[in-house]
Amino acid sequence: MKRIIVATVQDRSGVLNRITGMLQKRQFNIDSISVGSSETEGVSKMTFVVDVGDHQKLEQLTKQLNKQIDVLKVSDITDKAIVARELALIKVGGSGQLRSEIQGIITPFRASIIDVSKDSLTIQVTGKPDKVEALISLLKPYGIKELTKTGVTAFLRGQQPQQVTELNSHLI
């Protein structure tokens, strides 16, 4: 099962190495990690998308993360009301007629073309991973020359409903 884990960590040298090293040593499967600064100076936020076998393994993961001295807080936000986004840059071949066809495909995704050259164009798309994946598969027939993704970053929505009906796990 895929889970979204968010950790706030102290921004100290070696902290990323410490955490990825622990994940590797304890054989956790990571789909993506995104790291960046947070609202507090000296504190970074990490978002992990992990593939874990069962709840016991998931519990181990959060405990092992919590055990790290640089880690301030760990939460599994998968079953909460959250906003989760990733960004992808996709370079596809295309010129002339194809360009307007591609434009037609990306419009409903609210993606945009951010670079155009003689025989290629680069599309930027932001959204939940399933949306990004859907666009990528639509663009495949045009020949994807290059693709890069940031990994998911996420946090809780401002308001948590009494009962969360929508599970996020199918989205990631």
Binding site: V9, S13, G21, K25, Q60, K63, K67, Q68, I69, L72
Partner: protein, 573 residues
């Protein structure tokens, strides 16, 4: 020379370097013994050590591995952090085995390594190694000091982290320019560790749950690990076990946390544990684990481990709970606090006389056993004599392997902090240097290092320290001219193909000892053993005794690899 130099510097305030500041911080942290080895990147620190007044006790090993195992032995018997100092590059990498050993067995160590100057870090400079990268997975935490103003705080934090919560090793990497830098100001030592708050007090709800489980248990069992020793909770454990008449078993590292001669003690559990203890683990309906981590050498095949039991686990490290064994009652707490809380709860225990009687019968029916060989000494009998002649009151250190298991089986510990062994990592070459640290930490106690002929040869160069300081450590080499445990497994599981496990060329250990100026003895007759032990235990100096034991003797009983705890072999003669 040395004395003169000291007087000169007392008045020169401008001589204060980062290294002086470092030494002062160690003095403030009440460090009395430093285990180390000099080298280029720590020259400023060794210079400050030379000038320090009052002088520091620095123990010069002959290999950095000797330093760190000695520091582990020191930490294990004193409960204080062992402090190690080594140079950059090879000095630091020679410590890796000891750091990992301390990590696995939760031994508090603070390890200082020199580093090349900040300006050349990352350029593959002479004697540079990526100490931070290398030690990250094998330390509780590690630091590289970027500027001298951070040094006092970092040293202070390192001791705090190493000795609190679940103890462990902390590395502090000090670039040469930081220790050499001149500095005059006082710097803050205040902690800045918002992400480190180990929880000592148990959750009262979990204690209620545990007390409730106890009130329903017909076959309760306590499993006590090293966590009880670290928490200094042996008195509480004894009170708790006696109050409810609960049988107790130990992990290898937990030996001494409960009196081994106590009628409620079932002996050690695990791969070479007693039949009674392992059967109790298999049959119990409530297992209360206090400060043990359900290591695979204890549990055997997890499918068959305590299959009928409700499991409660008291541990200061939440990540240990539920890691290997599903746990119904998790208690994240210091063992002492948890036991005190349990002692305060009022529990009506159902009658478990039948259970106690069964265990008593098992104990009588299936004691540990051994055979006496015709020619050479029986290793088990030898260790029994060591136990008797030292009145069970010695500090025992060992390596890993057959001699370690025999020591665990036949030397009965009634008190904590007397048993120094390499458990989790299973490090050959640990026992002898650990004995040096143990003796320095407990100068008035009898320290006996029981080692194998293989392991002793990995770190025997530290005999120099024994001679230098006339440390009265007694080294008993259980010499079977083999890597005994490897040989045993090859006999049992590899159809007697003794691949590279027989040591056909050993040194003359007597002459070897004598070459260091140390008494050396050789024993191969049973009748010589007791006089020899009486002699060496009353002799105030180091001795090496080469005891020639039967090579074919195997450690029994045993749970074969992959087997369940109820499938012991060799339970009877």
């Amino acid at each position: 020379m040395k004395v003169e130099a000291k007087h000169e510097t007392e008045s020169t305030e401008q001589m204060r370097t980062g290294a002086d500041l470092f030494i002062q911080t160690l003095v403030d942290a009440e460090v009395d013994t430093l285990f180390g080895y000099p080298g280029g990147a720590v020259l400023p620190i060794y210079d400050a050590l030379y000038r320090s007044n009052p002088p520091f006790d620095h123990v010069l090993s002959r290999h950095e591995q000797g330093s760190i195992h000695a520091a582990e032995g020191y930490a294990r018997v004193t409960g204080k952090a062992g402090v190690v100092l080594a140079t950059s590059g090879p000095g630091a990498t020679n410590l890796i085995t000891g750091i990992t050993d301390a990590m696995m067995d939760s031994i508090p160590l603070v390890i200082f390594t020199g580093q090349v100057a900040s300006g050349v870090i990352g350029t593959d400079a002479f004697q540079e190694s990526d100490v931070m990268g290398i030690t990250t997975p094998i330390t509780k935490y590690n630091y590289q000091v970027k500027q001298v103003s951070d040094l006092p705080r970092i040293v202070n934090e390192a001791f705090h982290i190493a000795t609190t919560g679940r103890p462990g090793p902390v590395v502090v990497d000090i670039p040469k320019n930081v220790s050499a830098q001149l500095t005059g100001t006082e710097f803050s030592k205040d902690f800045n560790l918002p992400g480190y708050q180990p929880n000592k007090k148990p959750n009262p709800l979990q204690i209620v749950k545990l007390a409730d489980a106890l009130s329903r248990a017909k076959k309760p069992l306590l499993l006590a690990g090293a966590g009880v020793v670290f928490a200094k909770a042996t008195e509480e454990l004894k009170k708790f076990a006696e109050k409810y008449q609960l049988p107790v078993t130990n992990t290898l590292l937990g030996l001494g946390s409960f009196p081994g001669t106590h009628p409620l003690h079932l002996g050690m559990a695990g791969m070479h544990g007693t039949y009674t203890a392992n059967t109790a683990l298999y049959e119990c309906d409530l297992l209360i684990n206090i400060g043990a981590r359900f290591d695979d050498r204890l549990t055997g095949n997890l499918e068959h481990f305590a299959p009928h039991a409700k499991v409660a686990h008291i541990d200061i490290d939440p990540a240990e709970i539920g890691k290997n064994v599903a746990t119904e009652i998790p208690v994240v707490a210091d063992a002492k606090e948890a036991l005190q809380a349990l002692l305060q709860s009022v529990v009506e225990l159902p009658d478990h006389e039948v259970w106690k009687e069964t265990l008593k019968l098992n104990k009588a029916e299936f004691p540990l056993w051994y055979e006496k060989p015709e020619q050479k000494l029986s290793p088990q009998w030898l260790i029994k004599q060591v136990y008797e002649q030292s009145k069970g009151d010695a500090i025992i250190t060992t390596d890993v392997g057959q001699h370690q298991m025999w020591a665990a089986q036949f030397y009965t510990f009634d008190k904590p902090n007397r048993w120094v062994t390499s458990g989790g990592l299973g490090t050959m070459g640990f026992g002898f240097p650990a004995a040096i640290g143990a003796q320095l930490g407990a100068p008035d106690d009898l320290v006996v290092s029981i080692v194998g002929d293989g392991g002793f040869q990995m770190t025997l160069q530290e005999l120099s320290i024994l001679k230098e300081r006339n440390l009265p450590v007694k080294i008993i080499i259980v010499n079977n001219e083999a890597l005994g445990m490897v040989r045993q497994w090859q006999e049992s599981f590899y159809e007697e193909r003794y691949s590279e496990s027989l040591l056909t060329m050993n040194p003359d250990f007597v002459k070897l000892a004598e070459s260091y100026g140390i008494r050396g003895l050789r024993i191969d007759q049973e009748e010589d053993v007791i006089p020899m032990l009486q002699d060496i235990f009353s002799y105030n100096g180091p001795v090496v005794v080469d005891c020639r034991v039967e090579q074919k003797t195997c450690v029994y009983p045993m749970i074969a690899p992959g087997k369940g705890i109820h499938e012991m072999i060799g339970v009877k003669k």
